[in-house]
């Protein structure tokens, strides 16, 4: 009976997420329509009204917005993002390289978070060292600053000041991303600092809650080593809560860290998004927006599942 209820709730949550994504894309489309000008006016600038009308007709911009949304949705259900308005290239080709670039950066940041940030946060939360609060206070600084401030300060110190890294994170023309691996360093470092600063204190607070519970205290009193207490008793309970917090970070990383990519001119999804909004490439904006909506919806759904599990565990604790 309980399993049937859980299965029903599971199916309902999936259907709800799909409906949310669909409506989200519609609202996004409406928002993009409110931008002044369109791809035709941005592409050609000042021309005769008749010429502009011809170009708008060629780009399909003379059709009603609802019809254009319907065609976009039909394309999407057929497995295509459509074509760009100005160059007629498939949108999937246009976003392939930025998507790969953002995936690579996000991968490195997640590795840094999992192998550096989380262990430090767990170490702080488990109250293992008398000077533990230093880490918490240090993490407040990058968390207190807007993202572009963190990115520009790193740029000023490591690139402009020390000259260790390139100022712009742009690959050489025609070369692959891996031909100049140093272009990844500043975006990865900035994003890692920003994400870590926000994640650190929450994970430490979560671990601290579990560390002060009776069964952990009993394990310590029973004479177990601190590492055994953490890995065998503390972490399994805190894992779902930590998973929930990580799940909420992924949409931010994979959705394209717009600001950081703009500062370094890194050719990721965020940078492409800003360029597309400026040039009114609706199809590209919708494709990137859809990817962000999907990541956020799935991230929130996973976070809800992990949170529900965490709630059941914390009720026992």
């Amino acid at each position: 009976m309980l399993n049937k209820l859980r299965k029903n709730r599971f199916v309902k949550s999936i259907l709800r997420t799909i409906l949310l994504c669909l409506l989200g894309t519609f609202i996004l489309f409406l928002l993009v329509q409110t931008l002044p000008g369109d791809a035709a006016t941005r592409f050609v600038g000042k021309v005769e009204p008749e010429a502009l009308e011809l170009i708008r007709e060629r780009m399909g911009l003379n059709q009603p917005p609802l019809l254009r949304y319907w065609y976009w949705l039909k394309n999407l259900l057929g497995g295509s993002f459509g074509t760009t308005m100005t160059t007629d290239l498939p949108v999937s080709d246009v976003i392939r390289l930025p998507f790969r670039a953002t995936l690579i950066v996000s991968g490195f940041v997640l590795v840094g978070v999992v192998f550096v940030t989380l262990p430090l946060a767990i170490y702080e939360g488990a109250q293992m060292h008398p000077r533990r609060h230093i880490l918490s206070k240090l993490s407040l600084m990058p968390a207190a600053m807007p993202e572009f401030v963190v990115a520009i300060l790193l740029l000023a110190v490591l690139a402009q000041g020390a000259g260790w890294l390139p100022v712009l994170s742009i690959p050489k023309p025609g070369a692959s991303l891996w031909d100049s691996p140093q272009i990844f360093v500043l975006p990865v470092l900035s994003l890692w600092l920003i994400v870590s600063a926000n994640l650190f204190r929450r994970v430490a607070a979560l671990v601290r809650t579990y560390a002060s519970s009776a069964y952990v205290r009993d394990a310590r009193l029973a004479g177990m080593s601190e590492w055994r207490v953490i890995f065998v008793h503390l972490l399994p309970s805190a894992a779902y809560g930590i998973g929930q917090l990580l799940a909420l970070t992924v949409p931010y990383l994979l959705g394209g860290a717009v600001v950081v990519e703009t500062v370094f001119s890194f050719p990721g999804m965020g940078y492409l998004l800003v360029q597309s909004i400026n040039s009114r490439e609706t199809t590209v904006v919708m494709a990137i927006g859809l990817i962000q909506i999907l990541y956020t919806a799935v991230g929130l759904w996973l976070a809800d599942i992990a949170g529900a599990k965490n709630e059941r565990i914390s009720q026992v604790v």
């Binding site: 709800r16 949310l20 994504c21 409506l23 989200g24 609202i27 996004l28 928002l31 993009v32 409110t34 931008l35 002044p36 407040l140 600084m141 968390a143 207190a144 600053m145 807007p146 993202e147 572009f148 401030v149 520009i152 300060l153 740029l155 000023a156 402009q160 959705g255 717009v258 600001v259 703009t262 500062v263 998004l273 800003v274 909004i277 400026n278 904006v285 990137i288 927006g289 962000q292 909506i293 956020t296 919806a297 929130l300």
Partner: protein, 275 residues
């Protein structure tokens, strides 16, 4: 030194730090709000007086990418950001509290409202705010409604979570039994109890609004050469970082001076409340 003496010393250090933070916050808020009055003493921010990214100039801060004095722009760059962020924070608290209390009172009957709030969560905020900012001709005040709209899922959940336990208390039930309407009982009995959470969340909303407004004005300059907002100054002068670092670093310093002490102060206040 025994434990009590150590605790007393820690508390005294904490109080001194709080005083220093308050002074820093007041100083930067006064600088942002009253700075425009001192612009005539420093120079005309609209006038090109030197080569792009030249050194020297008023207060030795040099000139920006169009040869205009950086010092004068710095004096006027904070007011709009601060006022827009404050209005966003206040508006988001009022709307969030209203939604949150409705969700707390009506509970299961608010499925549609919760669904709509979840929908706002998944629409990328930076994208939608950027679109509105572009649409509004680079005016931060125009982004206030959209920024309020998109913080609604967070603030409403926060207030719903805080108000739900209070609706089961004796004093609320007594008010209902005495014949008070639900809105009146909420205003008289529940909202006064939520005073500290409101203050804490107002502070957090203020910081979030400063971040959002800074990010939007950093990204969405929309060819507006007469915008002297601190984040816009950072973006416009970034290319000249090697030539005149003051044009980029002084507005960054101003933003950091605003956000870090405010953040630490709010953090201390919410920690004290938790104890």
């Amino acid at each position: 030194m025994n434990k009590k003496t150590r605790q007393l010393q820690c508390r005294q250090k904490g109080r001194s730090l709080t005083k220093v933070l308050i002074v820093l916050v007041v100083l930067i808020v006064c600088f942002a709000l009253f700075g425009p009055f001192f612009v005539p003493l420093v120079g005309d921010p609209h006038k090109t007086e030197a080569f792009p990214f030249d050194g020297g100039g008023p207060l030795n801060m040099g000139y920006d990418y169009l040869g205009r004095p950086v010092a004068a722009q710095l004096l006027i760059g904070g007011r709009e950001l601060l006022i827009a962020a404050f209005l966003t924070a206040v508006l988001s608290q009022v709307t969030g509290m209203t939604c949150g209390l409705i969700m707390a009172v009506l509970r299961k009957r608010t499925k549609i409202l919760r669904f709509l709030l979840d929908m706002m969560l998944i629409i990328p905020m930076s994208l939608s705010t950027l679109v509105i900012y572009n649409h509004a001709g680079s005016s931060l005040y125009a982004t206030i409604p959209i920024a309020t709209f998109f913080t609604l899922p967070f603030t409403s959940r926060y207030y719903a979570g805080n108000a739900e336990p209070l609706l089961r208390t004796g004093f609320y039930e007594q008010a209902m039994v005495a014949g008070d309407s639900v809105p009146l009982a909420l205003i008289r009995e529940i909202i006064p109890v939520l005073f500290r959470p409101i203050l804490t969340d107002l502070g957090m909303s203020m910081i979030s609004a400063v971040y959002l407004m800074s990010t939007v004005s950093f990204l969405g300059i929309a060819n507006n050469n007469n915008s002297f907002l601190w984040p816009t100054m950072v973006m416009q002068n970034l290319s000249g970082l090697a030539l005149n670092p003051y044009a980029t670093l002084m507005p960054i310093f101003a933003i950091v001076w605003l956000t870090i002490p405010l953040n630490i102060l709010i953090d201390q206040f919410s920690n004290r409340r938790r104890k």
